[in-house]
Symmetry: C2
Subunit: 350 residues, 2 copies
């Protein structure tokens, strides 16, 4: 699609389109004429009413209603160098984990007059670089990136653009700029500690290949190793996780050995593993325990209820939105790095 010759940000038109309509949409000038004012006063009345006489504002509002005026944000953004657009890049959206964060981000930003440009990478760093380059052509006021691993190319592009960035869903002392997330390493540790404390000694992993899941696994296996339990058997399933993959994964794990607990990289897989166990006549957690990650909405009401790690997904979006908007609007902020934390929710499955 992208012209092979070009910069990733440049998309060559495939068809030559001509003839822009004369556009009869009313402009600021139409409103100004209608109100007997200058365009500049109308602009102020709309964007900065406190510096305009109330009576004038009222005149403007009437003219706006009369003309059906809708501001042109392209022109406004061009002139003011502020687009009121935030570019958001996530690996997936058919993954319930990110959707809540996006929704919260969008809600919070909408309150402050921002719109979101959403793009999906499919977990590829190269795709991310291309997407970001393309998105930057919209001149967003800020960028939200998922995770802390990015291609060098993308970092360069972002750096050159000199644009506020929030990385979400992960933690590092050295973010590109701002960050809202939590430690996946610690999630893994906490999970292992809980399982050890509950007496589990033969864990099996049902895992998906993404970097944050890998970090959780690292924390998990290091903690188990310290108790003399190493070489955790593991089955990998592709993204996106699904109930079906959970069932299939457990089947494959059980063919490999014996376990007292199955640690899943997501609640979705956990639900599938539980279902598969039950269909084999195994009782969860007595015969085999299962623990998930994410505390998705079904986790609490599953049968048995799924023990998992809860993360405030909406808070990630909210805090990220506030960090960005505040930075853009030059509102000072203490922490540019926010650890949103997590907590283990003990239910029935493990």
């Amino acid at each position: 699609m992208n012209n092979a010759l070009t910069h990733p940000a440049i998309i060559t038109r495939l068809t030559t389109v001509k003839s822009p309509k004369p556009s009869n949409a009313p402009t600021l000038e139409d409103v100004a004429r209608h109100a007997g004012l200058s365009p500049m006063t109308v602009s102020r009345a709309l964007n900065n009413p406190q510096v305009v006489r109330p009576k004038t504002v009222e005149k403007v509002m009437q003219a706006v209603r009369a003309t059906g005026y809708i501001p042109n944000a392209l022109a406004g953004g061009l002139a003011s160098r502020r687009s009121k657009l935030i570019a958001v890049v996530v690996p997936q959206i058919n993954n319930n984990m990110f959707v809540d964060t996006i929704q919260a981000l969008s809600d919070e930003l909408a309150l402050r007059g921002y719109h979101i440009l959403l793009s999906v990478t499919g977990y590829s760093e190269q795709t991310e670089a291309d997407l970001v380059a393309t998105l930057l052509s919209r001149r967003p006021d800020g960028v939200v990136l998922t995770g802390i691993h990015h291609s060098a190319e993308m970092k360069k592009i972002i750096f050159n653009a000199a644009i506020p960035v929030v990385e979400i869903w992960d933690l590092t002392p050295t973010p590109l700029d701002m960050l809202v997330g939590f430690s996946h390493e610690k999630v893994g540790q906490a999970t292992a500690e809980y399982l050890l404390q509950e007496g589990y000694r033969r864990p099996g992993l049902l895992w998906t290949p993404d970097r944050r899941a890998d970090q959780r696994k690292h924390g998990l296996s290091e903690t188990f190793k310290r108790q003399g339990i190493s070489q955790l058997p593991q089955i990998d399933v592709p993204l996106p996780a699904s109930l079906a993959l959970g069932r299939e994964g457990l089947t494959r794990l059980l063919a490999d050995g014996e376990f007292d607990v199955i640690v899943c990289s997501s609640d979705t897989l956990a639900q599938g593993a539980i279902m598969e166990a039950q269909s084999r006549g195994l009782t969860v957690p007595q015969d085999i325990a299962v623990i998930g990650f994410g505390d998705l909405d079904f986790a609490a009401s599953n049968r048995p209820a799924i023990t998992t790690v809860s993360v405030d997904r909406r808070a990630i979006g909210q805090r990220a939105a506030m960090l960005l908007a505040d930075r853009i609007e030059h509102i000072p902020h203490e922490d540019a790095i926010i650890d949103i934390g997590f907590h283990l929710v003990k239910r029935q499955s493990a």
Copy 2:
């Protein structure tokens, strides 16, 4: 929030922001200077390379790389009156039904150089009108709306904007403009016919309050009524549907009477109903059958697998994208109304 005085499209700045940076981002002129060409030739080389001498194009590309040029779509859109932006309005995104459609829409449009502006209404028509007005300030080249019921105010706004519109997820002979969807009425009929044919005579409804679900219910109850079965008992649960609400809903239904099949307005509720039935020692479908809607990813691998109605959610997005992009680019198209259809998937739960 929106200033009470204003048009919904107008969002008053809460803080006065000043000092636009001088912006050292390279412009077309910088690239032109670097390449020893006029800005216009550079513009053509990027947007319409076929009308530029290949050697010139190459010179331009080198200059683009050298300068790190990223086009300014705000300026481009303002000048060309084409923003390459599509506004998309959906009721929910934490609802798996719409996410696949959005993803497909986004993928298809990205291929053609468009970006998506996503907004969520939360099933409110007033919210939709406000959102659309705000979105139109971005001067999108097209709009995607979910459903066919809109406030008169919004229709007026859309009409005045004279912008291509695709309505999705529903069917009507009289769309605002273009349409990609299917008949919810017929889904209801097909569901009832299937259940009657399978011998079910005492259906109970587990339902959510949205207009498309209502249409399905209408088709369903009319068909049952023709067989002498009227007054279908019904329990309503709020949106968004969840496993928990499915369980709770079945509990309440069972307190109300006896049923041989529970018809759910979504697979999510169906999964919950099945789980609740099982936890009460009922066998599905022998003691009580359950049928869903949507064919979400877990439906096929649930235990028992959920009988449901499948809709090609990605196709809705793809076709909508093609309709819109073709219209925008003046590529002729036969049908402006596409019935994407559906099919009943017989599995185990009913």
